[in-house]
């Protein structure tokens, strides 16, 4: 049954620097990097040694916990360097790209005539498995479990998020193929939740197990946890899988062409770009190459792989992350502000009205910096998180349970139903400047370890 999901609690953070709907192709970078830290909780076992020559799509390493889960090289070329950190932890695998890319051929397949196991092994083989994440714990899916449903959020509400109706435009065939393949992997349905703009694209697709839901409302209306809670909440012992809609295109292309093409449309956003727009690049490309045409103001700038709420900090020497479809550049806020804690504030967002005036201008776009606007404190204020948190969970109580690591409480208060990104908004508005996402991430890792 298709559902209309209307989210009331939340907050749309409107920022300056939305990407103009214009895509430019960027030349191949000379060096690409794959970073195992992009894949949370994975311990890499290297397959490619320094000096090895690899094809695009060929595995560079596999997961220590399940050797079927392979991690592919985005380009063809020579492995030039394996960067290691403390205790020989692999930090990055750098590949010098060929001028023209050679792809490993995995063969054209028709998912309609394949069984679930065949789809699975094809995806393992081609290095597509890391796209599938599971709830609980928000980690790469454990292939030994069968999910009760698969969820895809086709509605992007994060600040400055890429417009999915634009980036997915013309990819109907790939998406249909990928959805068909995925529907073989679950005993239940494949749920896609879409906003108004994306509805047209997904409503054209008709598959037996596919259900399209309409979502509206402020962020986090686009978070997949929000949809899961409304459609088919996760109970103890249940597993659902989630996939980014843009990754459906890669999976679909694999089945249709036999090639693993990790090229993607990335939104360059944020006020530090003079010409924010979309670029077509391959994952792992160097940031300097990706942003070269957007007019980056490099003076005191924070470059983020992802959006300003959940992304990770990087710099021009960094590389586009495996899962990222957005690069944001905003000004650093490393300056003092005279009596900044008590004077009226017009240029920052706030959910209170304590001499903060963003409630007067709900449409205004803000140029926020990375300043914390205050110091870290113990939890004091109550009742504010609930206004931006649509799940049927007590956010503060859950956070506290995650801090004192009481496994029973973590489980009972809804620990199976959340991902760190669900606590991005509460972290944004937190008066005590507590690191909510970190608390949740560490707690989920503990639960995964102890309760598995």
């Amino acid at each position: 049954m298709s559902k209309d999901i209307r989210i009331k609690k939340g907050l749309d953070i409107k920022l300056v620097g939305e990407a103009e709907t214009k895509t430019t192709d960027v030349n191949l970078s000379s060096v690409y990097a794959v970073k195992p830290e992009n894949f949370h909780g994975i311990t890499p076992k290297l397959l490619a040694k320094e000096g090895a020559v690899v094809n695009a799509g060929q595995a560079l390493f596999y997961s220590k916990s399940d050797e079927r889960i392979l991690f592919p090289s985005p380009v063809s070329g020579k492995v030039t360097e394996i960067v290691r950190g403390a205790r020989r932890k692999v930090l990055a695998i750098k590949i010098a790209a060929d001028k023209t890319l050679a792809y490993t051929d995995f063969g054209i397949k028709n998912p309609a005539s394949m069984s679930g196991d065949e789809v699975k092994s094809h995806m393992f083989h081609a290095g597509c498995w890391p796209f599938i994440k599971q709830r609980p714990y928000d980690v790469i899916a454990n292939p030994n479990q069968t999910p009760k449903a698969i969820f895809i959020s086709g509605y992007a509400t994060a600040p400055l998020a890429a417009d999915l109706s634009y980036t997915l435009n013309g990819k109907k065939e790939e998406i249909t193929t990928a959805l068909e393949a995925l529907s073989k992997l679950t005993s239940g349905n494949v749920h896609v939740s879409v906003g108004k703009r994306e509805a047209a694209l997904f409503n054209e697709i008709s598959l037996e197990k596919l259900i399209v839901h309409n979502v509206s409302g402020p962020h986090p209306a686009g978070n997949v946890s929000t949809h899961i809670a409304e459609i088919d909440p996760i109970n103890k012992g249940e597993v659902v899988w989630v996939i980014e809609p843009t990754d459906l295109v890669v999976i679909g292309e694999l089945f249709l062409t036999g090639k693993l093409n990790l090229a993607r449309t990335v939104a360059l956003t944020g006020s530090q770009f003079s010409a924010p727009h979309y670029v077509r690049v391959i994952s792992g490309a160097s940031i300097a190459d990706v942003v070269c045409e957007a007019g980056l103001n490099e003076d005191n700038t924070r470059i983020i792989n992802g959006n300003p709420l959940t992304g990770t900090e990087t710099d021009k020497e960094g590389f586009l992350g495996f899962y990222d479809h957005q690069i944001t550049a905003i000004p650093e806020g490393d300056d003092y502000e005279f009596f900044g804690w008590n004077k009226p504030v017009f240029d920052k967002i706030s959910t209170s009205r304590a001499l903060t005036f963003s409630w007067l201008t709900p449409k205004k776009k803000y140029d926020l910096t990375t300043n914390t606007n205050g110091e870290h404190r113990a939890f004091v204020v109550t009742g504010s998180y609930e206004d931006v948190f649509p799940l049927d969970i007590y956010p503060m109580q859950l956070l506290k349970a995650f801090m004192y690591k009481d496994l029973d409480e973590m489980e009972n208060l809804g620990g199976y139903e959340i991902a760190p990104e669900d606590f991005a908004l509460t972290e944004f508005i937190c008066v005590s400047k507590q690191p909510h996402q970190k608390i949740i991430r560490e707690g989920l890792d503990l639960m995964n370890e102890e309760l598995g």
Binding site: T370, V380, Q397
Partner: protein
């Protein structure tokens, strides 16, 4: 650049030393720090704890100013009752303000100086930052004591309240009892003769007792408790031209503060509203008891029981307690549902204690302290409701 750069250099110099928290407290008071985000959200909303606390203080300013005039007015009006005939004309005078300046302002200064000193000492010893909780506590304390409270007494109480009420639990955010009320309770139980009776509520009434110049320092509640008539009009009671603790008298200004706190989303409207509702319900019950003639005029509870329920809301410390004390987020219930229950019980119990306590006809601070203790229990049951719903969902599925 001058000051900003110099302070920045000093901060770098003090970094890691014992004095760093003390220095940072002053530095962050002047300047919003230059800290940037790491590892979580890259942007943050404008509010911090200082701004939150500052908003509460701003809502208290009108009450404080009024109370300074009122301290003088009650003193002069006790000597010359004819002043009450034209209250407004005789209220905002320099004579009145002067008594406020010499009696109320020192209470504020001592409360802040002693309390913040304790906070600084603890921050330096324990190596954590000076937290902002005391900014509000320090303002609340002078407003809930009798005007003639000796300053040494206040200092002792503040030290007790901050150390035992807050720091031993780990500082702001960790305490179980409202620190301001802990200070008030300490004063009440340690120095009862200074904190209750029919003298302490008006400046100089204690000194003049037994002399030819004796004046009354009785509150409305005191009069009711002794089944005496009260001379004040409803208007006086609502506007606050009556004796009482320094800042508790003006229901009008307190409600103005409440409106500001609710509008800024800093104070919980749920708690404020439900406290008034709870008090009104208890008042109605007592009124019904009187109407049913279960007790008679000879009863010592008759005076307060027969007080109309709405009058209970505007006399004594109920409004002040509901708006500024019960809403303390750390010691109140933390769930929205819990806040309704918590507030209701505060109002309900306040009026109950007020009526039945023979020695001291007021119960707001005791009721709030009592409910502070029960707040975690209320939350526990509210949260258990959520847990049960989650477990039931799983059961329905497997059934």
């Amino acid at each position: 650049m001058g000051l900003k750069q110099n302070l920045h250099n000093l901060k770098e110099k003090y970094k890691g030393t014992k004095m760093a928290p003390a220095f940072n407290a002053i530095h962050t008071f002047l300047y919003l720090p230059n800290e940037v985000t790491h590892g979580g959200t890259h942007i943050k909303a404008a509010d911090d704890l200082k701004r939150t606390m500052n908003t509460v203080i701003m809502s208290l300013i009108p009450v404080l100013v009024f109370s300074m005039f009122n301290a003088g007015f009650q003193h002069h009006a006790a000597i010359d009752p004819s002043l009450r005939e034209a209250v407004l004309a005789n209220f905002f005078t320099w004579d009145n303000l002067w008594i406020g300046i010499v009696k109320v302002l020192p209470l504020v200064i001592v409360s802040y100086a002693v309390g913040l000193a304790v906070e600084f000492v603890f921050a330096v010893i324990k190596g954590h930052e000076v937290e902002e909780g005391y900014l509000v506590t320090g303002m609340l304390v002078p407003l809930i004591v009798p005007v003639d409270t000796p300053l040494w007494m206040l200092s002792v109480a503040v030290i007790f309240g901050v150390v035992i009420g807050k720091e031993v639990f780990g500082g702001t955010g960790m305490n179980i009892l409202n620190p301001a009320l802990t200070i008030r309770a300490f004063l009440f139980f340690a120095y009862p003769t200074w904190m209750s009776g029919d003298k302490v509520w008006v400046h100089d009434a204690v000194n003049r007792a037994g002399t030819a110049d004796a004046i009354s320092g009785e509150t409305i509640l005191g009069s009711y408790a002794q089944n005496q008539e009260v001379v004040y009009s409803t208007w006086d009671k609502f506007m606050g031209f009556i004796p009482g603790s320094v800042g508790e008298t003006s229901t009008f200004l307190i409600l103005l503060g409440a409106a500001f706190l609710i509008f800024t989303k800093i104070g919980s409207w749920r708690i404020i509203l439900s406290t008034f509702i709870g008090a009104a319900v208890m008042g109605l019950i007592f009124n019904a008891v009187v109407d049913a003639e279960i007790i008679t005029q000879s009863s010592k509870f008759y005076g307060l029981m027969s007080t109309p329920f709405w009058e209970h809301l505007i006399i004594g410390g109920l409004a002040f307690g509901a708006v500024y004390m019960a809403t303390d987020p750390v010691t109140a219930s933390q769930t929205n549902k819990g806040k309704w229950i918590y507030g209701f019980l505060i109002g309900f119990v306040s009026i109950m204690i007020r009526v039945f306590n023979p020695a001291y006809p007021e119960g707001v601070f005791l009721a709030i302290l009592l409910m502070n203790v029960f707040a975690p229990t209320i939350d526990h049951y509210v949260v258990q409701g959520n847990v049960k719903r989650r477990l039931n969902r799983a059961k329905v599925k497997t059934a």
